[in-house]
Symmetry: C2
Subunit: 339 residues, 2 copies
Amino acid sequence: MTSKAPHRHPIRLGPGGEFDLIRSFLDPAAASSDLVLVGPGDDCAVIDAAPTALSTDLSVEDVHFRKAWLGPEQIGWRAAASALSDLAAVAAEPVAVLVSLAIREEDVSSGWGTRLMSGVREAAASVGAVLVGGDVSRTPGPAVVDVVAVGRARKPVLRDGARVGDEVWVSGALGAPGAALALLEAGRPLPEALRAPFARPLPRTREALWLSERADLHAMIDLSDGVAGDAAHIAAASGLAIELDVSEIPIAAGVEAAAPDREAQLALALSAGEDYELCVVAGAGVLAPLAAEFRQRFGVALTRVGRARAGEGVWSRDPAGATRRLERGGFSHFAAAQP
Amino acid sequence: MTSKAPHRHPIRLGPGGEFDLIRSFLDPAAASSDLVLVGPGDDCAVIDAAPTALSTDLSVEDVHFRKAWLGPEQIGWRAAASALSDLAAVAAEPVAVLVSLAIREEDVSSGWGTRLMSGVREAAASVGAVLVGGDVSRTPGPAVVDVVAVGRARKPVLRDGARVGDEVWVSGALGAPGAALALLEAGRPLPEALRAPFARPLPRTREALWLSERADLHAMIDLSDGVAGDAAHIAAASGLAIELDVSEIPIAAGVEAAAPDREAQLALALSAGEDYELCVVAGAGVLAPLAAEFRQRFGVALTRVGRARAGEGVWSRDPAGATRRLERGGFSHFAAAQP
C-alpha cells in the first residue's frame, strides 16, 4: 500500500500575490514522504495511509495565543503540536498536515504569517509529517490558524475501551503550560523551566506508538484541557468512573513559580490544560513493567495516577481515601449550552 | 479495503457547554459510511479510503460571506460546497468532512452556528459525505469556517497533465455567482435565476466522476477564481498556454441583470469566480462524443471553450482570430507579494 513512488511535481501555481504567499509557506527543501502521492499545488493533496486518522485544531489570536507572548514560529509550532497530539492520542503515525490561515494584510507584509508557517512545518517535521496543503484568506479580525493533522492509524486506541479495574497512567509531568499562562497573565516573568513546555510543547507521538506496540491499551487521550476534563471524556465514552489519586499526580518543575502550595499546583495540573501529555488506560499490571524503559527512552516519566471503577465522572482520592467528584475544570469556550 | 464494519460508537463526550455545542453540530440521524471507521467524538476520526484526497477551504465573515446576504444554512452550504468542489476537481469520491468553526458568543446563543453546521451537513450529504469531526472556538472577531473535505481518489486527475493540442472544456454556464455578488454590492435585488447559483452552488462531483470513468482526462480544476485565473494554474502546472475562445464561453442565465452587454458578461464569466464548475482538459475529439449524454444526464452543458498550445499563460481569442493575454482577474486575497 505504501510502495508507490510519490508524485513529485514542482509547485507551479499561476500568478498572483496570494499564490506568492502560498509559495512562501511551503518548504523550500520540498520535504516529501512516500505516503504523499500529491503534495501542495493541486486542488487536493493525495496521501496513501489507510486507515487514516484525521483531526483539526483551531487557534484564534487573543483566545489561544497572544502575539505579545509568543513569536510567530512558536505560535505556529503550538498550533501544529496541538493537532499532532491528537494523532498521538489514537496511536497514529503522523503523515501530513494541512493549514488554513486567516491573516491580516499587515501580518502578511511583515512576514509574520510566513514565520508562523515555518513553525508549523518545523513541528510537523519533528514527528515525520509534511505540509501538503491548506488555504489562506485575509481577515479583518484576529488571526486564525486551523491545522489538520493526518496520520496512519493501523490500530487506533480510542476513548471507549476502558474497563472497570483498569489503571490510569499519564506521561510526563503536568501543569507547566498552565503555570506559564498564569504568570504571563499576571505580567510576571517566566522561569526557564516553564518556557519550553509553554512555547514548544512536544506531541507524544513516539511515546504513544511505543506503548501501543508493547501493551494492549484500552483507551487513550491527550491532555489538552487538563487531566480532570480529559479523563471525563474517557469515563463518558467507556461508561464508567475514573478515580485520580491526587498524591500521585506528577507536577512539572517550575509550577511552584505560579502556585506556591500543593493545592494550587494540583489545580493547575488537573485543570489548566495544554500539557499535551498522554493519559493511558490499560489493564492492572500491564504498564508498570514498561515504566522504567519508557523513562529511559523518552526522558519523561510514566506514572500511574488512578483507576477506572463502576460509576460515572472523574473523582479525586486523597491519601486518606476520601473521594470527591471533580467538576470539569478545563477551559471551555462556551460555558452555556446553546438553544 | 472497504468491507470493514464502521466503528459505530455513540457520541459520549464529557460534560461542558463546549461539548453541548459540538453535540448540537452533529447529525441527529447519525449519518454514517462504511468508509468511516471512527466518527465524531474521539481524538481523531478514522477513515479507510486510500488513496485519500484532502482539501481545506476557509470562509471568513465579511470576506467570503456576509450575514446580511445569506442565512447561516446557506453560508454553511457554500463553505462545504467549495471544499467538496476541490474533491470533484481531482475526480475523488467524497467520503467525509471536518469543520473548524471560530464563532462569537452571540452567534452560539442565537443558534446561528448550529444552523450553519446543518447547512454544512446538508451539502456534504448531497454528495455522500458525512461530518466526522472538527473543532470549535470562540472568537472576538468575524466568524471563520474551515471545511476539510476528504475523499477517495482512485485515479486523481491533476493540473499538470495537459498537452499541446488538447481541448479545454467547461461544465455548466459561468458568471451567475459573480453577477449576484455585483447586484448585492450595489444594493439591487437578485433575480430568481441568480439566487440558487449564489446561495447553493452544486459541487460537480457526479459529473467529474462520470467523465473520469469514460474519458482519459489530462487535467482538471474547479472554477473558484474564474476560468481565466483557474486555467492559468493548469497552464503553469502543465507548462503550456491555454487559449479561450471568448465567443464559446457559456454565460449563465440571469447574468444580464448585472451586466447588460456581452463584454461585461464575459468579464464576469472569465474572472468573477465561485462558479464551482469544472474546467476539463482532454485530447482532441475525446469529450465531444460525451457532451450530449452529459447534458441529458446532469442537466447542464459541457462546452468546448478553448485549447492548449505551446507557450505560457491564458489568452483570449475572438471570432476574428485576434488573441490577447488575459491578466489573472480572479479575486486575490493579497495583491502584493510578501517579503
